[in-house]
């Protein structure tokens, strides 16, 4: 499997070469062999010693090709693909798809204190769509792109969780 980490240039080929038992493995990353000793493991996280260094990681979201983890307090996004995927990915012009995203989601939990955009309004990137209150502070949610608000999901008084949809901008 090939691994690519956001903000890190180098890419990594990783393979488990040997299971030593008792939670210990020999793995190869690029050209070097490493000893991986697992102390604790669950679907939520892992504690391990890689060579002689202790690490702990928390698994957040993941799909077959992307994984968000927090390792030793550092948030990291990992893209994974087999070498076959790699070719398909490159040929489909992948990588610049972020702007196509239409959903504006809340990045914090809070209470909606005002909504400034109505369905059908055209908005510019950075325009305030609504204002949330959380921890005694007012925080604005801004449009992530230019476009038209095809639907506005929240209304004043709503409570939203992190990741909840605020509006669709096309």
């Amino acid at each position: 499997m090939n691994y690519k980490i956001q903000d890190v240039k180098k890419s990594f080929d990783g393979v488990i070469t040997r299971n030593l038992g008792g939670g210990e493995f020999i793995i190869r990353i690029n050209d070097a062999e490493h000893n991986l000793k697992i102390l604790e493991m669950s679907t939520k996280g892992i504690e391990f010693i890689l060579d002689q260094r202790y690490h702990r990681a928390r698994y957040l979201e993941n799909s077959t090709s992307e994984m968000s983890i927090v390792i030793d307090n550092v948030p990291v996004t990992i893209n994974m693909h087999t070498h076959f995927d790699d070719i398909v990915y490159k040929n489909s012009g992948g990588g610049g798809a972020v702007n196509a995203q239409t959903s504006l989601k809340s990045q914090i939990p809070g209470k909606v204190v005002s909504v400034t955009v109505s369905e059908g309004d055209s908005v510019k990137k950075g325009d305030v769509v609504c204002t949330l209150e959380s921890m005694k502070m007012q925080v604005t949610v801004k449009a992530h792109k230019d476009g038209t608000a095809t639907s506005v999901i929240v209304k004043e008084g709503d409570t939203v969780a992190k990741g909840d949809l605020i509006a669709e901008i096309k």
Partner: protein, 489 residues
């Protein structure tokens, strides 16, 4: 003599007060909202009373309910902590009427301190210099604009009911002033149900330096040195230290005398803080009195050796100040980092939710006041301060390097924290050199430098991240195959 104290607060400050009371053999009464039933302050108080729903207005700000618990629990005194009702003179008056010992200044003195206008007038009279600005409240945005043009932009719009940096806007021209005026009005009304605004000259490259003051009921006044709190975001303090790198013995004594005059001028009792702006030319301007125990009081405790909550209780008991000004000596250096649940890269937006695991730093010269424990939850209903990490050293360098080590040691799973930002700040040469100002973060591009540091961190952790990802896939494969052995020791 105070024998049973109701603590009208939550979180780390409720725990802080409980600790001193317990050491003094004083019983404690905790109050809690629906959201806080599992909080440590509920578990550690002698008694705990449920007072309502999660929203502060329905619990921690509910004066009648808290008074009811006061009376039914038989508490003879109340400690308001900071925030909530701590600077509400109506509440202090309610306590006075009910013969409850409110651990803080009198309602009249609190009212005077809280009214920025009257307070400023009292200071001018006492010879304490203040920042140029409107002589009193402004009538409306237009009036504010007139004064702003008079003293010159940039100016600050401040709600007289604000506090802790909320209800403040800096505006650079008439256009910004109008928008800012409305925001401040809105925030003030949201917070306390009313609004009244002052205009003040905004000074550039200022430092926030404040003095701990204490005054007993017999009129004895002391200052317990300064704290520099220049590292801020959105006018809220992030990192505090004492002594200030720009306060020498002479300055400490000179401004300290002004502080004592200020406390006398408003007939202050108990502990409070006199806040100053220090302009780049070395001039000090009084801003306001915080009529309560301050978040950052532990750094003063470290360098003075005093227990400030004990001192509050002693003064509230009517005891004379147990020392004179000349008995106080500063010992070493202390720094506090406010560990907030917030995402630095989302403009410090709050981050809330469950915290499955925590590791709290400890060791020589390290103190951590926190409500966190493994399995707790950071609530969106209250402010973002999860912990106060405080370090002490014989030298500034020792306190700084201990802080860096303690920040490294602090692990909070599940929410975003300000810890990475503090590592970048504490590690910067600007901080090390004491080159502080209230615009420190912007001036030195600290958020961008944090992003750079995190990039480097990612490089360093890349192989471990890959190993974690590999382990994850393999773990699932083995679970699906029903094997799963060898995955847990």
């Amino acid at each position: 003599m105070i024998e049973k104290v109701l603590i009208a607060n939550r979180g780390e400050i409720a725990l802080r007060v409980i600790r001193t009371c317990r050491a003094l053999g004083i019983k404690t009464v905790a109050v809690y909202s629906d959201e806080d039933a599992n909080s440590l302050h509920v578990k550690q108080a002698t008694e705990s009373y449920h007072i309502g729903e999660a929203a502060p207005a329905k619990s921690y700000l509910n004066q009648e309910k808290i008074l009811e618990v006061m009376l039914s629990s038989g508490a003879d005194a109340i400690h308001p902590g900071y925030g909530f009702l701590s600077e509400n003179d109506d509440f202090a008056r309610l306590c006075e009427k009910n013969k409850i010992n409110f651990i803080g200044p009198s309602a009249d003195s609190m009212n005077l301190c809280g009214d920025k206008m009257k307070c400023k007038a009292a200071m001018l009279k006492a010879g304490v210099p203040t920042v140029p600005g409107s002589p009193g409240l402004v009538k409306d945005a237009k009036d504010a604009a007139r004064i702003a043009n008079d003293i010159g932009y940039p100016v600050m719009l401040k709600s007289v009911y604000g506090g802790g940096g909320r209800g403040i806007r800096i505006v650079n021209n008439d256009k910004e002033l109008h928008g800012g005026y409305e925001s401040v009005t809105g925030e003030s009304i949201a917070a306390v149900g009313k609004s009244a605004i002052l205009v003040e000259k905004f000074l550039e490259k200022t430092r926030h330096i404040e003095y701990q003051m204490a005054r007993d009921m017999h009129g004895n006044t002391v200052h317990i040195f300064e704290r520099e709190c220049s590292i801020q975001r959105r006018n809220q303090k992030l990192i505090e230290q004492t002594p200030s790198p720009v306060v020498d013995e002479e300055t400490r004594a000179r401004i300290g005398q002004l502080v004592c005059n200020a406390a006398d001028a408003v007939d202050y009792t108990n502990l409070g803080t006199a806040e100053f702006l220090r302009a780049d030319n070395g001039e000090f301007y009084f801003i306001e009195i915080n009529a309560r125990l301050q978040v950052e009081h532990p750094i003063t405790e470290y360098v003075s050796g005093l227990d400030l909550v004990k001192l509050q209780i002693d003064i509230a008991n009517g005891e004379p100040m147990p020392f004179r000004q000349e008995d106080l000596r500063m010992n070493g250096y202390a720094i506090e980092c406010r560990i907030n649940a917030e995402d630095t890269f989302l403009d410090f937006a709050p981050s809330t939710g469950p915290v499955p695991d925590v590791n709290i730093p400890a060791g020589p010269g390290v103190r951590c006041d926190t409500y966190l424990y493994p399995g707790c939850t950071v609530s969106p209903f209250y402010d973002s301060l999860m912990a106060k990490l405080v370090t002490w050293g014989q030298t500034f360098e020792e306190s700084r390097s201990r802080m860096l080590a303690a920040l490294d040691d602090f692990y909070i799973q599940g929410v975003e924290t300000s810890i990475p930002l503090y590592k970048t700040i504490l590690g910067s040469k600007e901080y090390k050199n004491g080159n502080l100002s209230t615009d420190f973060l912007k001036r030195y591009g600290m958020v961008d430098r944090l992003a750079e540091d995190l990039k480097k961190e990612k490089e360093l952790k890349a192989e471990a991240a890959v190993a974690a990802a590999m382990a994850y896939s393999e773990y699932f494969k083995s679970r699906v195959q029903g094997a799963g052995q060898g995955w847990k020791r």
